[in-house]
C-alpha cells in the first residue's frame, strides 16, 4: 500500500473517533479500538507478576501487538550470539505479514516467556520456529477476523502488508493491526485451525537479512550479563582450588582463616559446607579477597592422571558396556570383506571456555528470589536454584541476559547457584563474577574419547561391514556449587544422545548392511565434570570413523569423494558431499607430492550432530621438520533443511570452522594428579587470527524441509576432513588431536 493509503487509513480512524464510532465493538473479543501507550504499559506490568511458564496455548503468551503497529515476540529461545533474536522474529513476521523492523523480542524470563525447552542442540529454529510460527498464525487469524468485522469485508477479501490490512477490491478500506488491538491483550486461546503459510509464499524466510543486535553490539550500547547491576549489591567471587579435581572428589575444606582478608574494607567470607565465596562493596576488593583468603584444601582422594597418561588410564579403567545399535553380523562381514581398514583414535578433554567468564546477579530474600544469568535453560536453572536455597520454584524468578557465546554447558548454572547462595548467605543482593581460572578450571568439559573402528568393503568398493567401539564418560548431573554446599554425591546423566557413540556420525551416512556400535562408559565420578560441548563428541567420532573410510578408499585406489558417493543412498548426505567437493574444486588426482619439507594435502569429510547434514573439505600444510600444521582452506557445506536466514547460517558455519581449527590444532585440557591445569588462554590456547584459514561456508537451502539445526554440524565434518588431509599430505595417519608439533612428529615417525 502507498504512503497515502496509510495516511487515509489513519484519517479515517480519526473521523470514526470524532463521529463516536470508537464504541464499535468486536463480537470476537468484545473490545474497542486501540487504546494507546497506557494500555501497553499496563500490559507490561501485568506480565511478570506471576511465575511461569505461561499458558502456551494462548496468543498473548507469545505475541503482543503494540499501538504503533509493531509487534513484540515472547519466545522461549535465547540469543547466545547465534542470531536467534533475528531469526525467530523473522518467522513470526513472515506469518503475520510484518516487516522485520516491525517486530522485536524480549529477553527470556521465567515470569514472562514460554517454555520451549533449553537453547541447546542447535534447536532454536528446529524446535523454536514451529511454536512461534503457530502462535503467529493464530494471531494473524484473529487479527484478520477483527479486520473483517471492522472493514465489513469477508476474510478471504483481505490482504496484509506491513501489518496493514486492506480489502483486495476496495483499497480505501484499510485498518492496521495496531488500530485493531494495539497495546491490549488478545485473550484468545489457540484454535488449532490457523493456517500457516505455504513455503512457496515466503517473503522473509529464506532471504538474507541483517541481524537486529549488530549495531548495539558495535557501539557499546548492548547490555551484557556482565553489565547487570542490582541496587545495594555486593560484588562476589567464589573461592575454590585452582582447577577442578575428579568430579567425585568435590573439594574439601580443611581449614579457613578469615583473618587473612581482615585488611580489605568490607570484605566478608560466605560459607556453606565446602562452598566458599567472598563479597565486598567494591569489585576489586572482592577480587583481592578471593585471592588472599587462606584456605587449606584436602588432597584429592581420586587423583587424576597426568595428561600423558590419560588414555592409558582410560584403557585400564572399568566400564559399563552396551551395544547401542546392531544390524546384521558385523564381525562376519568384516572377516569376509575383500578390503578392511581399522583405525584407533585418542581425543582429549576440551572445554567451552566462553570468552567472558560467567556472571550472575541474585537477590535472595526469605520468600522470593530474583536471579539474572546467562543460562541456556532458565526454567531448569530456576529448579536448581530453588532446591538449593530452599524456596519453591514459583518463588524464584530467573531472567536471562546474554553473556559471551557459551557453546554448550559452560559454568552458567554453577554461577547462578553461586550467586543465589552468596546472596542468601550475605543477606544482600550480589553480583557473582567468575574469574578466568574459575571458568576454565571448573568447566563442564567435553569428555575425552578413544574410538576404535573397523570397516570392510567388497572388491567393488561397497562397504559391507562396520564396527565402532567408543570409550567415554557421561555428563555430570550435580552443579559444583550444589555439590560443595550440600555434599550431594556425584551423579551422571543416563547415557543417551550426545554422550554415546552417535549412530548418525559413526557410519550413519553410508548404506552398510552389517553394523555394530558399542559404548564403553567410564565411571563418571573418577573424571572431570562434563557437559555438552558444541558438537559433543562428534568431532572425535567423525575424526575416527571418516579416517577409516578414507583408508578404505585409499586401499581400493579410489578417489575418496567417489568412494563415498558410491556408498551413500541418502540425497541429503549426497547433497552436502557434492556441495563441499564443488566449492572446494575437488578433482580426482594421485596422492600429493610428499618430497618437500612442507607438504600440502587435502581431505574430505562428512559429519553431523543430532540432525542436519554436514560436509567439509580441507587443505592443510604440514612442516615435516618442525611438525607444525597450518590449515590453509576449509569449506563447510550444511543442509539444515529450511534455512530462515542464510546470512546467519553462513556466519554459523564460519564460526564452526574457525572453532574446529582451534580444537584440531590447539585445544586440550592439561591434567595433573592434583587437578585440571588449563586455567587461562596461555594454558588452554585457542584459534587466533593467525590460525584462520580461507573459509568458504556453503548453505544447502531446502526451503520445503523442516528446519533441523545449524550450530555445530559442520564441525564434525571439518575435523574429519582435516584428519584426512593430513594423510594426503604426509602418507601417515594421525590418530590424536590437537595436532601439536609433538603429536605430528610422532605420527610422522611412526
Amino acid at each position: 500500500m502507498s504512503a497515502r493509503d496509510v495516511r487515509a487509513a489513519f484519517d479515517r480512524r480519526f473521523v470514526l473517533k470524532a463521529g463516536g464510532a470508537l464504541v464499535i465493538g468486536f463480537p470476537l473479543a468484545g473490545r474497542a479500538l486501540a487504546q494507546g501507550a497506557d494500555a501497553a504499559v499496563a500490559e507490561n506490568l501485568v506480565r511478570g507478576a506471576q511465575a511461569g511458564p505461561p499458558d502456551a496455548e494462548q496468543i498473548d503468551t507469545w505475541l503482543a501487538i503494540n499501538a504503533d503497529n509493531s509487534a513484540t515476540l515472547y519466545m522461549g529461545y535465547a540469543e547466545l550470539g547465534q542470531g536467534t533474536t533475528t531469526a525467530l522474529p523473522m518467522v513470526a513476521a513472515e506469518e503475520l505479514d510484518l516487516e522485520i523492523g516491525q517486530i522485536d523480542s524480549v529477553q527470556l524470563d521465567t515470569n514472562i516467556t514460554p517454555y520451549q525447552g533449553g537453547t541447546y542442540s542447535s534447536a532454536s529454529i528446529a524446535r523454536g520456529a514451529p511454536g512461534v510460527r503457530r502462535a503467529a498464525a493464530e494471531a494473524r487469524q484473529a487479527l484478520l477476523a477483527m479486520a473483517s468485522e471492522f472493514l465489513a469485508e469477508p476474510v478471504e477479501n483481505l490482504s496484509v502488508e506491513g501489518g496493514v490490512v486492506s480489502a483486495v477490491n476496495a483499497p480505501a478500506k484499510v485498518v492496521t493491526y495496531g488500530e485493531l488491538v494495539g497495546g491490549r491483550r488478545f485473550d484468545l486461546a489457540f484454535t488449532g485451525a490457523a493456517p500457516v503459510k505455504d513455503p512457496a509464499d515466503y517473503r522473509l524466510v529464506g532471504a538474507r537479512a541483517a541481524r537486529k543486535d549488530m549495531r548495539a553490539k558495535v557501539t557499546g550500547d548492548y547490555a551484557y550479563m556482565q553489565h547487570e547491576r542490582m541496587d545495594g549489591m555486593l560484588h562476589a567471587r567464589i573461592v575454590r582450588p585452582r582447577g577442578q579435581r575428579a568430579y567425585g572428589d568435590g573439594a574439601r575444606v580443611v581449614s579457613l582463616d578469615e583473618s587473612s582478608i581482615a585488611g580489605i574494607p568490607g570484605a566478608r567470607v560466605l560459607r556453606q559446607g565446602d562452598f566458599i565465596a567472598v563479597a565486598a562493596p567494591r569489585e576489586w576488593d572482592a577480587v583481592r579477597a578471593a585471592q588472599m583468603l587462606a584456605v587449606e584444601w584436602a588432597a584429592p582422594e581420586r587423583p587424576l592422571p597426568d595428561s600423558a597418561d590419560l588414555f592409558a588410564r582410560i584403557r585400564e579403567s572399568a566400564t559399563d558396556d552396551a551395544v547401542i545399535e546392531e544390524r546384521g553380523d558385523a564381525d562376519a562381514a568384516l572377516s569376509d570383506a575383500a578390503f578392511t581398514a581399522s583405525f584407533s583414535s585418542e581425543c582429549p578433554y576440551q572445554i567451552h571456555a566462553p570468552f567472558a567468564p560467567n556472571c550472575a546477579t541474585a537477590d535472595v530474600r526469605a520468600d522470593s528470589a530474583r536471579i539474572v544469568c546467562s543460562s541456556q535453560d532458565i526454567y531448569a536453572t530456576r529448579r536448581g536454584v530453588a532446591a538449593l536455597i530452599g524456596l519453591a520454584e514459583e518463588q524464584v524468578r530467573v531472567q536471562y541476559r546474554e553473556g559471551s557465546g557459551t557453546y554448550g554447558k559452560s559454568c552458567y548454572d554453577d554461577c547462578a547457584q553461586a550467586a543465589a547462595l552468596a546472596s542468601q548467605l550475605a543477606g544482600a543482593p550480589v553480583r557473582m563474577q567468575f574469574m578466568r581460572w574459575d571458568e576454565h578450571g571448573w568447566d563442564y568439559c567435553g569428555p575425552p574419547h578413544i574410538g576404535e573402528v573397523r570397516i570392510g568393503a567388497d572388491a567393488d568398493g561397497r562397504i559391507t561391514g562396520y564396527a565402532y567401539d567408543g570409550w567415554q564418560h557421561t555428563w555430570s548431573f550435580v552443579e559444583t556449587t550444589q555439590q560443595l554446599a550440600t555434599g550431594a554425591p556425584a551423579a551422571g546423566w543416563p547415557t543417551g544422545a550426545s554422550r554415546s557413540v552417535n549412530p548418525l556420525v559413526c557410519g550413519g551416512m553410508y548404506s552398510i548392511p552389517a553394523l555394530r556400535l558399542t559404548d564403553h562408559m567410564l565411571k563418571v565420578e573418577d573424571w572431570l565434570r562434563a557437559g555438552w560441548l558444541r558438537s559433543p563428541l562428534d568431532l572425535a567420532f567423525a575424526f575416527t570413523s571418516e579416517q577409516a573410510v578414507d583408508d578404505l578408499a585409499y586401499q581400493l585406489g579410489m578417489d575418496p569423494v567417489e568412494f563415498r558417493r558410491r556408498n551413500i543412498a541418502d540425497d541429503r548426505w549426497l547433497g552436502v558431499l557434492e556441495a563441499a567437493a564443488e566449492a572446494f574444486g575437488w578433482e580426482p588426482r594421485p596422492a600429493a607430492d610428499r618430497v618437500q619439507p612442507v607438504v600440502t594435502g587435502r581431505g574430505i569429510g562428512l559429519g553431523t550432530h543430532l540432525a542436519s547434514w554436514g560436509g567439509a573439505a580441507a587443505e592443510i600444510a604440514v612442516n615435516r621438520s618442525t611438525g607444525r600444521v597450518r590449515i590453509i582452506r576449509l569449506v563447510g557445506a550444511l543442509d539444515a533443511g529450511c534455512v530462515v536466514n542464510p546470512a546467519i547460517v553462513e556466519a554459523q558455519i564460519t564460526g564452526q570452522l574457525v572453532q574446529t581449527v582451534g580444537r584440531m590444532l590447539h585445544e586440550e585440557v592439561q591434567l595433573t594428579p592434583g587437578g585440571a591445569a588449563s586455567l587461562d588462554w596461555a594454558s588452554y590456547p585457542v584459534a587466533r587470527f593467525a590460525d584462520t584459514p580461507q573459509i568458504t561456508p556453503v548453505v544447502v537451502q531446502r526451503i520445503d524441509e523442516p528446519c533441523s539445526g545449524a550450530g555445530e554440524e559442520t564441525m564434525a565434518a571439518a575435523a574429519a576432513a582435516i584428519g584426512n588431509a593430513f594423510f594426503d599430505a604426509t602418507g601417515k595417519r594421525i590418530s590424536s588431536f590437537p595436532m601439536t608439533q609433538n603429536r605430528v612428529l610422532t605420527a610422522l615417525n611412526a
Partner: protein
C-alpha cells in the same frame, strides 16, 4: 583517595585505590559498557581501551598509572575519529563500526570492544593495512565465536571507506 581521569574527553573523578585496575573504575564507577572483563590477565583483549591513542589492557593497568593520560573507550571512538579526521562533529559510528555492521561480523559480540579498539589503533596509524598487517596487529585479541575472517574484511572495508574508496 580521589583522582581525576580524562575519559572520552571529559574529566571524571574516581575514589578508588590507586592500585585498582582501570577496568573496575571504568565499568563500576563510570558505568561504561565498552571495556569489559574477560580474563583479568591481559591475555584476551576484552577490556582494551586507548591511552593516548595506544591500546592497553585496562584489567591490569592501575588507575594511578593513567591519571594524566587521555583515555578513550569504545564509547569515545566516534569523537576520537572526528578529531583524527578533522571533522567538526563526531559521527554516530566510525567507519570501522559501520564496516563491522556491513560485514555482519558480530556473533555474541563480547570481544568486539577489544576488536574495535585495537583495529581503530591500527587504522589511525596505517590507513591502508594489508591483510597480513591486520592479522599481525589483531593477533593478541581472541574471538571464541570464530568471527576473525569477517573482522579482517571489516577492517579492509573501513580502510577503503576512510580513504574515500568504494565501500
Amino acid at each position: 583517595m580521589a583522582q581525576t581521569l580524562i575519559v572520552n574527553g571529559e574529566a571524571r573523578e574516581s575514589d578508588s585505590d590507586p592500585d585498582t585496575p582501570l577496568l573496575y573504575v571504568l565499568a563500576d564507577e563510570l558505568g561504561l559498557k565498552g571495556p569489559r572483563f574477560g580474563c583479568g590477565l591481559a591475555q584476551c583483549g576484552s577490556c582494551s581501551v586507548l591511552v593516548d591513542g595506544v591500546e592497553v589492557r585496562s584489567c591490569v593497568t592501575p588507575v594511578a598509572a593513567v591519571t594524566n593520560a587521555r583515555i578513550t573507550t569504545l564509547e569515545g571512538l566516534p569523537g576520537l575519529y572526528a578529531e583524527q579526521a578533522g571533522l567538526t562533529d563526531a559521527p554516530e559510528l566510525t567507519p570501522l563500526q559501520q564496516a563491522m555492521i556491513d560485514e555482519q561480523a558480530v556473533q555474541c559480540g563480547y570481544c568486539y570492544n577489544g576488536m574495535i579498539v585495537k583495529a581503530s589503533e591500527l587504522l589511525a596509524a596505517n590507513p591502508d593495512p594489508s591483510d597480513a598487517q591486520i592479522v599481525d596487529h589483531m593477533n593478541g585479541h581472541l574471538c571464541r565465536c570464530g568471527t576473525y575472517p569477517r573482522i579482517v574484511a571489516a577492517v579492509r572495508r573501513a580502510a577503503r571507506a576512510m580513504n574515500g574508496g568504494a565501500q
